[in-house]
Amino acid sequence: MFTLACTSILANIVYVMQPGDRVNETGTFLCTFQGFWMNFFDLATIGWTLIIALSLYRAVVKQSKIFERSVQHAVVWGCAFFLSAMPLITESYGNSGPWCWIKGMMGSIHPILHRERTNQFPRRD
């Protein structure tokens, strides 16, 4: 629970970070930095709640030993890093509204629909 609290604090700190001189400019180091750590700590927070649930399940329902602490850390930080590294490798971090996160193409689930409705291709922002 201490680790969960620390992870939550770090996740919230990343949100108030100002990514650059021009706010949320895609492609800058600080924008990518904020996007990566935001995704990483948010996923880690979720991971720790899952670890607490699994530990409770093993202790109460299965009545068996819980996972080693080193295994818990390896799984949570490892999974969060892997999932956050994928957009990093593909340069997908960028402007995502009020902060930098994984940038998206608006209306990209159905670009034809978007094109017909707005008479232009989905926007990159």
């Binding site: 949100y15 649930a53 009545q63 593909t90 990159r124």
Partner: protein
């Protein structure tokens, strides 16, 4: 002349991968974790209720603990449902991030803050913490200073409370301490 779907898709650049990654790298793991959490807390709650029915000691405490467990998956829903709906709608129908209204909706509905607050109350606010907070509030009131916050002593390990008060003796001896 109408563009073929293939041409339109080919014209989309690297940014479209970002939209996919939003869901693959974040929302999918998030809602999978929610499903697992909900299932686990349901099973744990059922087990605790069974122990209470079997006449284990502190059965009222067990029932209270079992009913309390429903808050954990509820935190996920409260924190992330609005944000997920907004992102899916944005991906499906468009809407620029630069719009003030979108920025406002993102800030108000973003789940990290709500998840952190919810976790703090649900996981952290147990009887020991409540007692310590009450004691600390009393000291702060009497001293009329916030200095006691900085001079706080470490609390007794929470596992002791869990071990002695909340588990029935029928399975206390067989289970290791969670050590979370």
């Amino acid at each position: 002349m109408t563009d073929s779907p293939r041409r339109v898709f080919l014209s989309l650049g690297r940014d479209e991968a970002g939209t996919a990654f939003r869901f693959v790298s974040f929302y999918l793991p998030l809602w999978c974790a929610f499903a697992v959490n909900a299932f686990i807390y349901f099973k744990v709650s059922e087990t605790l209720k069974r122990f209470a029915v079997l006449g284990a000691e502190n059965d009222q405490r067990l029932l209270k603990m079992a009913s309390h467990l429903r808050f954990y998956p509820a935190i996920f829903v409260v924190a992330w449902l609005g944000n997920t709906v907004v992102r899916v709608a944005q991906a499906a129908y468009g809407g620029a991030n630069s719009d003030f209204s979108f920025a406002l909706v993102h800030v108000l509905l973003h789940g990290t803050f709500y998840q952190s607050m919810g976790n703090a109350f649900a996981y952290g606010l147990n009887d020991s913490v409540k007692a310590k907070a009450s004691e600390l509030a009393g000291v702060i009131r009497s001293s009329r200073s916030l200095r006691p916050l900085l001079e706080m002593e470490a609390m007794a390990p929470l596992e002791d409370d869990f071990e002695t008060e909340e588990r029935p003796s029928s399975f206390r001896s067989t289970v290791e301490k969670p050590g979370l």
